[in-house]
Structure formats: structure tokens, C-alpha cells
Symmetry: C2
Subunit: 374 residues, 2 copies
């Protein structure tokens, strides 16, 4: 059994340990040498180049992804050549373009914020007028970790993006209501091609500057929401034909409703806690799913898991340089380094604490993470 | 931080996932291509060749081991060249030769079976006469998994070994009383060069034909033995200057005493349950210890963990070929494949079940393992 992963980042890296455990061969097509998943990089090349990707695919049984940026023409070439691709091109199309995502979610009746496609300041102005004078504009493609997202309050606030769009595509920008939310949640599920779906517990996520900072698993004080969130994510996975892990990022609105923020069709930062806190991690489950093997038990193994991301501090420092003090202080916390040089704001690793009491678990996770932040 | 592991077997393989998680570079010197630890094999060569080992060591910060067979002259050359070696040559000498082991354990007052060194049938006959007509004879070097061990009842029962020894060394054979034991136990600890020692819970091991078949963690019905076993293993680690994981295999005698059977100075089959059942696995702990980093918490994360080895069945079958049925039946069990072709009796992987009740956990682990046994 050989799984090929396109992209050499930390998500590919974190697929390697469960692949080793299960005896599944893992091959990575990395963009350049020395990336996070270098230990499994059997090829280095451009994922936008059809010949490069087809040559890579010839050595594996199924192709999956570290990211969602592989162009549809490359995905189509893989399928035409007879390769198994999970998630498939049709599902990935929904994750690759935020306008397509809103259209498809609206089609299946999933709850989303009010949205529209805009092509100029006038249409943005009309949307603002209808939504209390504020909104969020997103570029349909290429955004992540807060990039390509802007809160707007005047029709001219994204004139620079309209100018860029005019040169490039004609697809326009996505505008959405600025959701009045109580907190952010994430529901992860995995689905295999033959249809089986398994869900991890609903989690709460804390974002800082558009970047995931902390995750509490399960989501505290969630009332009836876990049941609704799980049913929603399972329905989306099934109706969109997602294979592998699907992450559904959610708003809990101030009046207690769930609205879908984003979808990701791969292991996701809000699921890193599963490595240390669940019977089956999202990375093992993704491998099982894309190989169409029976899925593992996603149950938590501890009452609470808390994950805190390590964002890069001073340039040049790596996590292991600080292990002496961090390990000594927190022998029970699990440390994860992505093998990256630190840059301000860059995700270079994460820590996960588990425990019987939420407050104590949060405190220990934050203390452990603190050793790596300037 | 770069750890070099001499030997490319499953123990080196299982060090790779925690190395990836922690961002520790791991290099393996494998005996040949395609072994269990091939994914981290940066060199292929003979561990008995000084030049090969020195060249490998030049790229890492510390040298450790997948097995205990590296000759003392090679270890001495590493130390002379200034390389950190853990466990060190003096400690390893005790694990490499069963006569040296008995001598050292006797020196420090650790409880061992009656033993003697014999050079001929007459001295074996004298030992048999003094021990009720039965005993165990062991070759001092090279034995494992029941090889090099023979139960004897007549002075001539190991004449073939005496004949071989006469051609080779003058060291003789080890003879020991045949211990009347209630069951077998194992106590694992880890020690770092600066002195910190951490102990996992005492476990019970079930051997079949000299090979570890099952491990129950913690050892059920052990009464006061865990306290004594832990103190004993910690004392041995400290007095012998062991660095890394030390496994102390023990007999619980029919009259309730502990006697030391064997020592191993590396991660050990009786500690595989820690991957899925403890906060810090023996493989992560070994990496921390040999790098002289603070040790992790060895506490169990679940009331019971049960490990069952997979011994090879029909030639040619690999574990993944049977995942479809095994995963479907036991979604909560953790499966570990060593990436080996199956041969009758060969250890090709293991499974670990965890749970709240021992009997149920044993049943689930055995059921899972059963899918891989002919």
C-alpha cells in the first residue's frame, strides 16, 4: 500500500508517523528540498506541472494532498491516466474556490452567512447598505491564515483587489455578512470512498489575527450544538463526495445558530489534538480513508485535550533549542516541531496537553507553548 | 539535534515517529537496504567495521542502538574519536555477555538465579547434581528470542556447544538454576546521562517458545512487587551507568520473590504497549535520554494496555493485506507493522488494545492479532 502526498508541509509530515506504524509506504512530492516532510520526499518538483505529477503518481496506489492548491487541469490529468485521487477533483473544486463553496453549500441547504459575488465598488456598496454598513470580502482563491480576507466598511475598501481581479480573472470577489459570533468551532469528519463516515468531537477554536491559536477538545459548554454540527459535517462530506478528512469551520452566532465559515479537505490545524488525544488521529484516519480501508475509532482518550500553536519567534530559533527547559517544566505535555526555521508569525509547531480538568489543561498547554514564544 | 541509530530493525523504525514529532533528525545505519527502518536509513553498511561506523557517526550528535551486537572495539573507536555513545561501552558490555551480566548483577547484590560458568560436561554434571538434576545453559553471546538457551537434564546435553566453544573462545557457557516461576514480568526504566531516571509500570509478559507473545500493562495481581521491581531496575540503571531505556526481565518465583532473567539496554518488546498506552513511549523516552534531555512522563493513559505480537504466518503475506477485515472488526485497536515480509515465527508487527477492563482488553487485542496469524 503506497500513498502519494502532493505537498511537503507539516500536514504531509504528520502523515508519516501513522504511515510508519501501519506499514503503509508514504511518498511525498515536495515543492523544494528541506521542507517539513523531507523525510518522506521521494520527489521534488512543481505540483502545477502535469508531467512532474504524473511521474510521481506512477509509484503510488492513491494520490492525496498536503494542500488544496493543485490545479484542476493537473487533477484531471491524474484521473484520466487512471490514478485514484482522494479527495477527488469535484470535491476539491469546492474547497479551492470560496465562491464555488458558497454556491454548493447554499445548493444543499447548509447554513452559511449571507453572501454575494461582487465585481465593483457599487455592488459592494449595495451589500454594505443591506448589512448594516459592514461586511467581509474574500478573494475566491489562494487565501489562508487570514490572507485574502478583509473586513470592509466602505464601497472603496477593496478597490485594489478589483484592480488585480480585472487583470486576472473575471470571477469577482466574495462578500459576506460580518457574522456576530459568540465563538468559533470546528467539526472534523473523515469519509472513505465506499461511504463510511466517522466524526471526531466538535472543538472550539481560538483565532488570533486570522490564524488558529488554540483548540479546546471537546468544545466546552456546547449544549446541543455537537449533535447538529456532526450531522451537518457528515451531510456535507456525503453530498459533496469528500474522501479523506473534511474540516468544517463554524461560527456559533450570538443567537446560538451554526453558520459555516470555511471548508478544508485535508487534515486541519483544528484536528492536531487528535494525535495525542484521540484513539485515531486525523492523520491516520486520512490514510485509512484515502486507501478506502475501514476507519478507526475517533473517540477521545482523555476528558480534555488542549492544543496551542507555536508561532515563530525570533528568526533562526528552532523548537528543539528550547527543549531543555520546556521538557523539564512540563514532562507530560506532547511537543510537535515541524522542522522549520522560525519566522515571526510562522507556524513552526504545536503542543498538546491532556487532562481531567479543562482549566488546568489549558494552563499547562499555554505554559508549555510559552517556552517557544519570544 | 541529530541521533544516529546503529541497526535498521523494528526498534530503530519505531524511534522514527517520535523523532519526527519532536523535530529530531534521525539517521540509521542499516545492515542492508529495505529493512524495517529504511525510511531513515542514511547509510547502509557493516556495524562491525570501524571506518563505516565512524563515517556514519560524523553526521550525528549522539550514537545509540537498535541492538546490542556492536563490538567493543567499534564502541571504543567511537569514544576515542570523541563521539557521544549511549548506552556507553561499559554498560553495553554487561548486556552483551550473559556471564558478565551475572557477575555484575551479583556484584551489586541484585537477585539472580544460582549460576556458574562451565567449561565441560563434568562441571555441568556437578551443577545439575546440586540443583535437582535440571538447569538452563546459555551461550554468553548472540542469543535472542530463545536461541542460545537450552534446558538440560544430563551432563552431555550441551556437548555440541562445548565443541564449538573450544574452537572459538575460552569463556565457557553460563549455567543457571531452572527457576520455578509463577510468571514472567518486565520492568522498564529510562535514564539520562545526567542521572534522571523514570520508570514505566511493571508489566506481565507471556512467552511462547522463548519469544514474547503478550504483554499486560500494568502487571495484574502484582501486590507489592511493582515497588520492589521499580527500585531494583532504577538501582541497576544507576549502578551500571545505563543511558537510554533499560529493560529488566524478571521471574516471579513460586514463593513470591523477584529474580532477574535478562537485561536489555534499548527499547524492548515488553515496552511496545507504551506507544499507545503511556504519555511518553519508550521510543520517545529513549531519544530524550540519549540526548540528555529531561525525560517525559511515563504514566499510563488508560487503565489497561494489552500488546500481542504478530508472528509471521504464511510466507509472503504482509500485515496490510489483511487490514480490510482487521480494521473493520476492531476500529479501536492500534496496529503496528514492521514493514517485513512474513516468515513463520518472525516478529512482523504487534497490536495494542487499551481499555477499562483487563479481560475485555485482552480479548480485543487477541482478536485483532488473530487476523494476521494463519
Amino acid at each position: 500500500m503506497r500513498v502519494g502526498v502532493i505537498g511537503g508541509g507539516q500536514l504531509a509530515r504528520m502523515m508519516v508517523p501513522p504511515a510508519i506504524a501501519l506499514g503503509i509506504e508514504i511518498h511525498v512530492l515536495a515543492e523544494e528540498p528541506g521542507l517539513s516532510a523531507a523525510i518522506a520526499a521521494t520527489a521534488v518538483g512543481d505540483y502545477r506541472d502535469i508531467e512532474t505529477v504524473l511521474a510521481f503518481a506512477a509509484h503510488v496506489d492513491v494520490i492525496t494532498f498536503d494542500h488544496e492548491h493543485v490545479p484542476q487541469r493537473v487533477l484531471a490529468a491524474l484521473v484520466t491516466a487512471g490514478h485514484a485521487v482522494h479527495p477527488g477533483p469535484d470535491a476539491l473544486a469546492v474547497a479551492q474556490d470560496k465562491i464555488v463553496m458558497r454556491e454548493r453549500l447554499t445548493d444543499i441547504g447548509a447554513p452559511v452567512p449571507d453572501w454575494a459575488v461582487i465585481h465593483d465598488a457599487a455592488s459592494l456598496g449595495a451589500f454594505l447598505d443591506a448589512h448594516g454598513g459592514q461586511a467581509v470580502v474574500k478573494t475566491p482563491r489562494g487565501g489562508y491564515d487570514g490572507k485574502g480576507v478583509r473586513v470592509v466598511r466602505a464601497p472603496g475598501d477593496v478597490d485594489d483587489w478589483f484592480a488585480q481581479a480585472a487583470e486576472g480573472t473575471r470571477e469577482g470577489l466574495l462578500v459576506e455578512e460580518l457574522v456576530d459570533f459568540r465563538r468559533e468551532l470546528a467539526q472534523l469528519v473523515a469519509r472513505r470512498p465506499s461511504g463510511e463516515v466517522r466524526a471526531w468531537p466538535l472543538v472550539e477554536t481560538v483565532q488570533q489575527g486570522g490564524v488558529c491559536a488554540e483548540v479546546f477538545a471537546p468544545a466546552p459548554f456546547a449544549g446541543e450544538l455537537p449533535v447538529a454540527a456532526r450531522a451537518l459535517a457528515e451531510r456535507i462530506a456525503t453530498e459533496l463526495g469528500v474522501t479523506g478528512v473534511l474540516a468544517v469551520e463554524l461560527f456559533e452566532t450570538s443567537d446560538g445558530r451554526l453558520l459555516i465559515n470555511e471548508l478544508a479537505m485535508r487534515p486541519h490545524n483544528t484536528g492536531h489534538w487528535t494525535i495525542d488525544g484521540a484513539v485515531t488521529s486525523q492523520f491516520e484516519q486520512h490514510l485509512r480513508a484515502v486507501l478506502d480501508l475501514p476507519l478507526g475509532d475517533p473517540s477521545p482518550i482523555t476528558p480534555w485535550s488542549v492544543m496551542v500553536n507555536i508561532l515563530g519567534g525570533p528568526v533562526g530559533a528552532t523548537m528543539p533549542e528550547r527543549y531543555g527547559v520546556a521538557f523539564g517544566d512540563r514532562p507530560e505535555v506532547k511537543f510537535h516541531s515541524y522542522g522549520k526555521q522560525s519566522r515571526p508569525g510562522r507556524k513552526v509547531g504545536h503542543v498538546t496537553a491532556t487532562g481531567a480538568e479543562l482549566e488546568d489543561t489549558v494552563a499547562r498547554a499555554r505554559a508549555a507553548a510559552g517556552f517557544f514564544q519570544a
